[in-house]
Subunit: 370 residues, 4 copies
């Protein structure tokens, strides 16, 4: 079995062992929330994984049925600590929580897949700016990889050959917006961009809050996070990096991002209204998107405006793009399921890449409609 120079078993080696019949042992921390439930749903049927531990604060062996009734058929329990023999740890925790205790996982040689924001941003200064905390481990930020396989597949794979792999899995709005705009950013076409996003309520988490009560959400739409949504930081970071030069997309620092809550449980739609840096044709757009996504297992470019329901429960992302003959503007729309491709599914996808497993392992479920 391959290992790093210090003898530690690295992720890629664990993946190889898994393909040979010894599943990777994974733990899920934050298993009691919606993202935690979704990680369980996916990983419980992953062919190369065994769930070695579920962790929730103050839980001492509670059966999963009491926490997530829909998963009651699985013989799982939630404890208050991470098992030492876990080889990879998925963390679905509030911002700041992982940064503060990541040493614990790295010391054990566990791959860290953080579904929170603590390892998404490369520049330590972005943490106080967007999250209002000083990052306690800025030394680790350069080594962490932004877990969007469509943009960082090679880096993720390379990560698997080193011990102490840290993946900063993207935010749900960020995934939708970055994938919708990536082909335009890569071509340096974004002179100005307004991103108007709509999300189901599960993205706000499971904790009971007055404004997430059914009576408040149902039959209603509202905007929130006016001009200060935290995902703006990672969206700008990733889109800037895609340009042929750092300033090729003058619209990218300064994105106008507005999220809305709509009365549904799952799904995000990002409508990206772009003023292009030059005139583009529909044919050119079609070619840009086809080239970008032709070989992606989870991305489709569609001919009609996609509905979030078209991807419900799946790891799919769908993109749609049109140029307006009248005004020259470009519209790019992306949809995904915020708990799957926007969170748990994408984290598993990144984990698969890091561990050298088939990228689609555990993620082939088709969307559920109607």
């Amino acid at each position: 079995m391959s290992a790093d120079s210090n003898g530690a078993v690295v992720a890629a080696a664990r993946g190889a062992r898994a393909l040979a019949g010894n599943p990777v042992r994974v733990a899920i921390v934050g298993a009691t929330g919606y993202v935690g439930a979704e990680l369980i749903r996916i990983l419980a049927l992953h062919p190369h994984v065994r769930i070695a531990g579920l962790v929730g604060r103050e839980r001492k062996g509670d059966p999963i049925a009491h926490i997530h009734p829909h998963l009651a058929t699985r013989d799982l329990r939630v404890f208050d600590h991470v098992p030492g023999d876990a080889e990879a740890v998925f963390l679905a925790l509030p911002h700041g929580a992982v940064a503060a205790r990541i040493g614990e996982f790295l010391d054990r040689g566990q791959t860290v897949i953080d579904l929170g924001p603590d390892f998404r941003l490369h520049d330590p200064a972005d943490y106080p700016a967007w999250y209002h905390f000083d990052h306690p481990r800025p030394d680790l930020l350069p080594g962490a990889v932004y877990g969007l396989p469509e943009l960082h597949r090679a880096e993720l794979a390379e990560l698997g050959t080193r011990p102490g792999a840290i993946v900063g899995a993207p935010g749900c709005y960020a995934t939708t917006t970055i994938l919708a705009l990536a082909p335009l950013a890569r071509a340096g076409l974004i002179a100005d961009v307004v991103v108007d996003a709509k999300s189901g309520v599960s993205g706000a988490g499971r904790d009971p809050k007055a404004d997430l009560h059914f009576g408040e959400i149902n039959e209603s739409v509202r905007a929130y996070g006016i001009f200060n949504h935290r995902h703006i930081g990672e969206i700008e970071q990733e889109l800037r990096a895609l340009g042929p030069t750092p300033d090729a997309n003058p619209g990218v620092p300064g994105i106008d991002f507005l999220p809305h809550l709509v009365p549904m449980t799952r799904g995000i739609l990002s409508a990206c209204h772009v003023r292009p840096t030059r005139l583009v044709t529909q044919a050119e757009l079609d070619e840009l998107y086809a080239t970008a996504y032709r070989d992606e297992a989870f991305v489709s470019v569609v001919e009609h405006p996609p509905a979030t329901k078209h991807v419900l429960g799946s790891n799919e992302f769908r993109a749609f793009t049109r140029v307006d003959e009248r005004t020259g503007r470009v519209l790019a729309i992306g949809v995904l399921d915020n708990l799957v491709k926007g969170a748990a599914g994408q984290a598993v996808q990144a984990f698969n890449v890091v561990h050298g497993l088939p990228e689609t392992a555990g993620l082939l479920q088709l969307p559920l409609a109607p």
Copy 2:
């Protein structure tokens, strides 16, 4: 009783008579749809109106209970013709239908409140452009008034002193967008604008369609009408007219308008993302909106992002506006109930003005929440 020079009884005179105890006799054409139902709901309790006739194609006296079960307590029936003694006619018909037969109403001296688009646009060339038909009565367009009382109150009142009054009641998206942007347009501040709108499904009408099936709409969001929604025409017409000069708002011809269907029955939220012609402060915005709407019975400027549920079932419009310190952009959000302030309620409001009735008559119902 006052009358015009030819002896015809004009709307204002009818209003005066109504205030003295003789209700204005109104007919509703297109009474079987959602907008028709809403007109009945409002007019049935209007203190100065009597419903003289409900009209639906091929109906021969069907009781209202069979058509609109929620209105079953009203002793009303739907017929296939407009009663001759109606003094005002509300028309909720497909585009083109009113233009083709308006002579019939004018000949009888009936005030026409058209809830369709046939008398909204002043320029006959706009009809083939946005609605794909040639207007059969372009001669009548100059005399019709766009029925948005907040912008055209004096003209509507003046209309009541002439026979043959025609009101082109605004579209639902148009009302939301125009009222959200009017103070900015009036100040010549719109350099560029993206309007991202979200609507409940009732705006698409009552006819059964595959894509309005509950199973398609529920748990889903999608965009539609990419770059070609018909309401763009009237939005641009009205916003241009508001500027201090026709070209004061360079962003107005060329508005980027994108509507979405969200899983709710009623409500529209328009998020208007504005690039201003110059830097503005929040204080300046507050003053502009306060000045514009201070005396309006149905418009409030609110401090927190409004939800469509806050106005459900009422004739209210709520506006919210913010400047982004980071980018200089301005956000203006408007919400309303598409069937009330976006259709039937506003039509009654305009009717009240034309007939010299209290503008709020029949419209004081408070929003229904949760």
Copy 3:
């Protein structure tokens, strides 16, 4: 002005004064919840009432806009105490709370309309049985009237001639079920009855709870309160009292009542499956219901199975009944809006009767559909 023998001004006299132009001054205690909001919505437009005070725990003048954004156009504030000059007090408080402090209101001669259960049940022993508390003022129970005007109109009117009037406004499920079954109970026809009820979520109140989160309720139905829902007590009390003899309806003590939460905000549907004491015909059923409800302003007997949406936002109750030729069973279905006819609207209706006002005052709003 008429008054009772001790010189206290009684409710009927206050009503008379209101009709002459001096509105009855009312207070709403528990104004921050859903029922409180609905009381405000109705009473703010009641022609013979003035809201003299809104009361919410720990509130010190908070504007209504911060608590109920949909009511923001009303210039009202919430305080932490009941104004002394209120003539009637509506109380929307948890069970037990009113019983404990009712002396305060009676001492001031205020009419008490309790929307909680503390004065619904006549037998003190029913309180520990259904609500798990010992009633602190059993002496007041005999004088309180169950506030269902369709069954107790005369008693409510008579209450208005005495000081210290106490109305125990019915529960939402109780109203739906009692009105659906009353004509059968009156005829002694209930040999056995299963009541299977479905409610929107607003009936569970406004407090944030994990199981009322949008993500839990949406796209889901579940039963709750298995065999022990508190409204069973009042349903059995009222239905027994309706029989020609106390034992005429052998199925009434022992009702099988099962409530369900369905993914909607408002509305209750009670399906009452009755095994009749003898064979009945459809004509007989029709006659029983027509006779019972012919003169009721808020009750309709309908020909098709009613939907809760048919009464949304109104004080209407609709009944539907059918006999099954195959099995002899009788089905009675009732629908209402749980916050209006099931709570606030009915409380206002009872208040109107007690105060000698027109029973429909403030309650004529038509249902809101779609």
Copy 4:
């Protein structure tokens, strides 16, 4: 390879071949509806199946993306005929359609899995009674098996050893109700039963209808099919057959079944209110249900009232049962996803049994919540 005495290849032999790597070739007729979509969703990932043909009336090679956008990633097309080489045919057609043309499939030796009602009822007289048509092939009814594996597993397996296998897959309400009541019926405990069922809208099919419009369904509950729902026939047939003697459950012919439409897309909850033939204890109930379902892969007996969301998108059925100490009544609740365990999933489960495949093949997906 095993075959029947006439040399025809029987289903069991096809299953054996599939396990060895040659997938069973299946066709889906009625592929354009909701049940058709669900069959595709499941069968496309079934490890031992290959979709050999999708059939929809008047379709000539339309890509699946145009018909079911959520399945757009599958390279499938819909044609107007069944491919001759299909070994099994799933039929999701209106009642009567399969009975009329079943010869076509039998002649080709194809296993028939009919998701409609044409082969559910054993007594030809039940067809005119419940479905208003005379069955054209009463000769085939005795040989068809009711496709509820939990009750008829051995018969289904035996069917696989004969050519011309016909499975009549159960109705959605029937499955929910029969599985909820089966342990009671088997013990002869049903003296009387009221079944009050609630269904999502997808059970009514995909065709656009006025009363399935989002605006009609949302925020509303209503009953329908008063006393005459077609599934009553099969529920009574199956429950009667389960009793120790045909008359052991006096309540079974004469079941009171009332379905409701609730505002959700998927899910059925049947609340079965039973008057038992004798007193039962909770321990006895627990034992009955545990015994009945202990070894079932898709049935769980749960401790808390189950929500339909707990099984969404899965082939699971969950049962809950309680005895009421106060009245002696027994409540049995069952939930399932009407398109999976109530239709497509169960059909695949039965197909698996007939073909000798692992019963859970293709059906292991976990429920999707929230």
